[in-house]
């Protein structure tokens, strides 16, 4: 097998105006134009999108799941960041 595998791209689709782009999967393409065209054919055959982002997978930087605790645990004990932490007098109906 000759070594001509096309690069891998991650595909993000905005399903409609007002929503953010969401990761839907990946595909191979020789360049960015082909990546957009392939993404159109593979991921939006049923009007799933109004906008496509593609980024070569090698450019994605991801956090390490093994360090999940040290990254995200500090947020766990800061419950005062949530409005439900605060007791309001019954007399106050809306705040």
């Amino acid at each position: 097998m000759n070594n001509t595998e096309w690069p891998l791209w991650e595909v993000f689709i905005r399903s409609r105006q007002g929503l953010n782009h969401k990761h839907v999967g990946s595909l191979h393409a020789a360049d960015q134009d082909m990546a957009i065209e392939n993404a159109r054919d593979v991921y939006t055959r049923r009007q799933e999108g109004v906008s496509i982002w593609v980024v070569e997978s090698k450019h994605i930087v991801a956090s390490d799941p093994a360090q999940g605790d040290s990254l995200f645990e500090p947020a766990a004990n800061k419950i005062y960041r949530h409005p439900t932490f605060y007791q309001l007098p019954d007399a106050i109906k809306h705040m």
Partner: protein
């Protein structure tokens, strides 16, 4: 953490229905099982395009042609979702293609049967896609995130496939006696291979227990097969054609149909490569790959040339 702790932690996650994602720790055997299953599934979608692709130019009307074209394009899409899910486990696309071509990787045996009449397009959609849906709905909850997400997309599209097949059968069954006979003949030929799609009986399916423990599999082969038979009998009655099994009978105690034992010799022969179309199917894939080599190379060369041009322009 020690290896054993990782393993306990992993199984705990599975037991509490927390999905496993690509960068999470997983046992090597879990990774290998998934690569094998997902890549075989992807290959099945791609090889599955062949029997139907054969009928695109001969579809009886423009409407049927457009529908069949859309369906076959979906199969290509399903193959691509699955290949990319498998790639998250660390195998390259080229490696998977190479394993298919060398015969190391299998695909669903059903596609080694020929599609000899237009009615087969009906039977394939109705029965083969119907059987596939039984399996795939369960896989939407598989423990590996990328696989489960690919299956959700596939299932959404698959029910169109089954309905368009049934629609072809309905049309034929409402037609002339000859057309109805075509539908009956297609049912006769596709019924048993469709039941074989669920794999060996539970007592002969040694890997099932592990896959169930890992929640890759949710139902046993025999349970899914039973569900398929129970769902399909009524659909055949409505068409007014007969399922080719004289032992097919409602069993009030188990609230399901009894049916004959599958011809496992035939099943094993087709899996071993001796089905009616095994060689033809694999040759079509290898030829497509070989003949497409210059396209893949040219696209890459063009992309490189363009990238250089952009760089030079930026420097100037």
């Amino acid at each position: 953490m020690k290896e054993l702790d990782f393993e306990t932690d992993f199984q705990n996650k599975i037991d509490s229905e927390i999905k496993i994602e690509p960068k999470d720790w997983m046992p090597e055997s879990y990774r290998k099982t998934l690569i094998r299953q997902i890549s075989q599934h992807a290959h099945s979608e791609i090889v599955g395009m062949l029997p139907e692709g054969n009928w695109i130019t001969r579809a009886p009307s423009l409407k049927r042609k457009a529908i069949l074209l859309a369906k076959v394009q979906d199969e290509a899409g399903h193959g691509l979702y699955l290949y990319s899910a498998a790639e998250t486990l660390g195998i390259s696309r080229d490696q998977m293609v190479s394993d298919l071509h060398s015969g190391k990787a299998k695909y669903s045996s059903i596609f080694n049967y020929p599609a000899t009449s237009w009615a087969d397009m009906g039977a394939v959609g109705w029965l083969v896609d119907g059987a596939a849906i039984m399996n795939q709905v369960a896989l939407c909850r598989a423990s590996y995130g990328p696989y489960a997400r690919a299956m959700v997309r596939i299932c959404k599209e698959e029910s169109f496939h089954q309905r368009q097949g049934y629609d072809i059968m309905m049309k034929l069954c409402a037609g002339t006696a000859e057309q109805k006979q075509m539908a009956q003949d297609a049912l006769n030929r596709w019924w048993w291979p469709s039941l074989m799609m669920f794999g060996p009986n539970d007592e002969n399916s040694p890997n099932s227990a592990q896959s169930m423990k890992w929640r890759i599999k949710r139902f046993s082969n025999d349970d899914l097969r039973q569900k398929f038979v129970d769902a399909t009998v009524e659909q055949a009655e409505i068409l007014g054609i007969k399922i080719p099994d004289d032992n097919l009978k409602w069993n009030e105690t188990k609230k399901g149909y009894d049916f004959s034992e599958i011809d496992w010799t035939e099943f094993n022969q087709v899996v071993a490569g001796n089905g009616p179309c095994n060689k033809q199917r694999l040759k079509a894939r290898v030829d497509a790959w070989d003949k497409g080599a210059w396209v893949r190379e040219a696209a890459l060369a063009y992309a490189e040339k363009k990238a250089v041009a952009i760089k030079e322009k930026a420097v100037a």
